[in-house]
């Protein structure tokens, strides 16, 4: 690894840290711009009770001081404060509880979509303009255009209500099948298209022709030369894919009642649990930023042809 690559990596890490700080700052000030504070609208609160509650949660202090405390707690203790609606629980505990389920869902969905997408994409590229290719392209175009909540709801109607082969409730292991399929369909379709076009690109390169001319077998060309190189662009999609899976899980967990972080986030929005909204936004955002960072670095390291800015 050259010093130029190292410099790029350091720069990229700094940008990622800066982005996370921006997210924390935006989240904090935007949430505190809500008029009336989080306790307005709750039943049976007298002004005295309200003042006591605000003192307890530190909301009576000047805004900048609250911001300082919030930032310090996150950096030093990874502490996002207590939840306002689930009394007595810390935001970070609720999040880590939900993340266990959601991570399982997300990782399985990501693996499935990577495998299915790469295989289908390679097959479509090798069978270019034949029936399989056409079918794959039409299907993936349709899947890419369908919002995840619609895909999820349609799968729910079809498999859980009409055919009754899979449970609609995501709280059981069998119930996770439908949410995983829902989450995996879009990235799988996207990866298929990506692999197909990059495979076609690679197959047209000079070194493939050279290998053919030297009499290398078709199988060896595909697995030894073409596939590996055509996967590089696919690698760049892993950051965006994680972002998609995170936002997609918000609605998918709502549709299938999966007890994950997405459902916790959505319900914290509806019942205005401000520390919970802030904590979840920050953690999910940081996750996406870090994943994009890893993708970017990996991309530059794997493909030395990429010029570093």
């Amino acid at each position: 690894m050259s010093s130029k690559t190292l410099l790029y990596i350091v720069k990229r890490i700094l940008l990622a840290l800066f982005t996370i700080w921006v997210v924390i700052t935006i989240t904090f000030f935007v949430m505190h711009a809500v008029p009336g504070g989080p306790f307005v609208g709750e039943k049976a609160t007298t002004p005295a009770v309200q003042a006591a509650m605000e003192a307890k949660y530190g909301l009576d202090k000047p805004l900048m001081e609250q911001y300082g405390t919030y930032l310090r707690d996150i950096v030093t203790k990874f502490d996002f404060g207590p939840s306002l609606k689930q009394r007595g629980r810390m935001v970070i505990d609720i999040i880590s509880d939900g993340l266990k389920t959601s991570a399982k869902l997300g990782v399985i969905a990501a693996c499935i979509s990577a495998v299915v997408g790469i295989v289908l994409g390679a097959v479509a590229a090798l069978q270019r303009n034949k029936l399989i290719d056409r079918v794959v392209m039409v299907l993936t175009t349709a899947f890419v255009s369908m919002p995840s909540f619609i895909m999820g709801s349609l799968l729910l109607v079809l498999f859980a209500i009409k055919l009754r082969v899979l449970p609609a409730n995501g709280a059981t292991p069998a119930g996770l099948v439908l949410p995983i399929i829902t989450l995996a369909l879009y990235p799988a379709a996207y990866i298929t298209r990506l692999t197909r076009s990059s495979m076609l690109d690679v197959l047209g390169q000079d070194y493939i022709r050279t290998a053919r001319a030297k009499g290398v077998s078709g199988r060896h060309i595909i697995f030894g030369h073409a596939l590996k190189n055509s996967l590089i662009p696919v690698l760049t999609y892993f950051g965006p894919m994680l972002a998609y899976i995170v936002t997609g899980s918000l609605v998918v967990e709502r549709i299938f009642a999966v007890p994950g972080i997405g459902r916790a986030f959505v319900s914290s929005i509806t019942n205005r649990d401000y520390p919970m909204i802030m904590g979840t936004t920050i953690i999910l955002a940081a996750l996406i930023v870090i994943m994009n960072l890893i993708t970017d670095i990996l991309y530059k390291v794997v493909d030395p042809r990429i010029t570093l800015e």
Binding site: L15, A16, F18, T19, V22, V23, I26, T27, V30, M31, A33, V34, P35, T141, A142, V144, S145, M146, P147, F149, I150, S153, L154, L156, V157, I161, K162, A243, V246, T247, L250, V251, R254, I255, V266, I269, T270, I277, T281, L284, A285, I288, V289, N292
Partner: protein, 352 residues
């Protein structure tokens, strides 16, 4: 008099001056074609894009025209009439069923307009709600992409023209906004703006649009201009350096001519295409937010909120989910395919 075939006499007819007809026959030039006409021709040949265009036009026209003659409105609860108890026979009608008073009218020989998709849980005609929801979704997508277009063009061209420090600062801001996870920020801003805007717009003309839609536009204005700005800046930077611009300058073309003849035609296609592709993404975002309860304000429907409402009665009335789902997929698919077709037709450089 017939000519002697062996005669060496020259045929004088061959030396007559050519008639206008003969001259026209010799001209090899066709009518000159403009950039725009070429593009339209290419677009016409692309069947997929053409069909998508027809589908989009059909859906748009239907969403505008149908409410004009449809006898029901999207907010009227058919079972509720002033001074009478609520007639619950109107709630949750299946397609082509009628409420109690309507049944009586039919038996009396009157004609009653059918509820093509039945009614929803509050007794509102579902067909007109879907039509109206389509209109709302399309309008949101259209205006949001115009906001993005205007802001992105403005900031992108400022950065491209000024260069130097202005460019650097603007592009660093773009970098940071670009790396923010957009959906999460949209949800956050929409949550807060919803609370903050409601009292501000009360009593003004904006109230009828609803705080959620306005906050959606604000969110789009804040977050989604960045990719457009990047695109425009890049275009301007590269176009300024092109040889044909230099050659036009060398042959004495004035700045205005260069802008009109070279810069705008080369830039506008890219701008319009990315604006067209912005519409489905805005519709997508709106339906997503509506699904999470952050979209349009009730009783106004949008395709996302209709799908979201349908989840509650899913076991008994799955068609109520399927209908808006199909419409939304048709719109997004149609706009995407048409946008791709536009790009192929008007931006030959991208074809590679």
């Amino acid at each position: 008099m017939t000519k002697n075939p062996l005669s060496l006499q020259v045929d004088l007819d061959a030396f007559l001056p050519a008639s206008e007809e003969d001259k026209a026959y010799m001209v090899q030039m066709r009518e000159s074609s403009t950039f725009f006409r070429d593009g339209v021709k290419r677009l016409h040949k692309n069947k997929v894009a053409f069909i998508s265009f027809i589908v989009i036009v059909f859906i748009t026209l239907a969403s505008i025209l149908v409410p004009m003659f449809w006898p029901y409105s999207y907010e009227t609860q058919l079972g509720v009439s002033p001074g009478k108890p609520v007639d619950s026979s109107y709630n949750n009608l299946s397609p082509f069923e009628y409420g109690r008073t309507e049944q009586a009218k039919i038996e009396a020989g009157e004609k009653v307009f059918p509820h093509v998709f039945g009614t929803d849980a509050a007794g509102r005609d579902y067909f007109i709600r879907v039509v109206y929801g389509t209109r709302v979704s399309l309008a949101v997508g259209f205006f949001a992409s115009i906001i993005v277009l205007v802001l992105g063009t403005l900031i992108g061209s400022i950065a491209g023209y000024c260069g130097g420090r202005v460019d650097m600062i603007l592009m660093r801001i773009v970098d940071v906004i670009y790396s923010l996870p957009d959906m999460l920020m949209v949800i956050l801003l929409a949550t807060v703006l919803k609370v903050k805007l409601t009292p501000v717009i009360e009593g003004t003309a904006l109230q009828s649009i609803g705080s959620n839609i306005i906050s959606l536009f604000v969110v789009f204005a804040i977050l989604y201009w960045v990719s457009m700005a990047r695109l425009i800046r890049g275009q301007i930077l590269s176009l300024r350096e092109q040889e044909y611009v230099l050659s036009a300058q060398a042959t004495g073309a004035k700045g205005r001519w260069i802008i009109r003849k070279h810069l705008i035609p080369n830039c506008i296609s890219v701008v319009i295409i990315s604006a067209a592709l912005q519409i489905p993404s805005a519709i997508f975002t709106e339906s997503y937010l509506s699904f999470l309860g952050l979209g349009v304000n009730a009783p106004m429907p949008s395709l996302g909120s209709l799908a979201s409402d349908a989840l509650n009665g899913l076991t008994s009335y799955p068609y109520r989910l399927v209908i808006p789902a199909v419409v939304i997929s048709l719109i997004v698919l149609g706009l995407n395919l048409f946008g791709d077709g536009l790009r192929d037709a008007f931006d030959p450089k991208l074809n590679g």
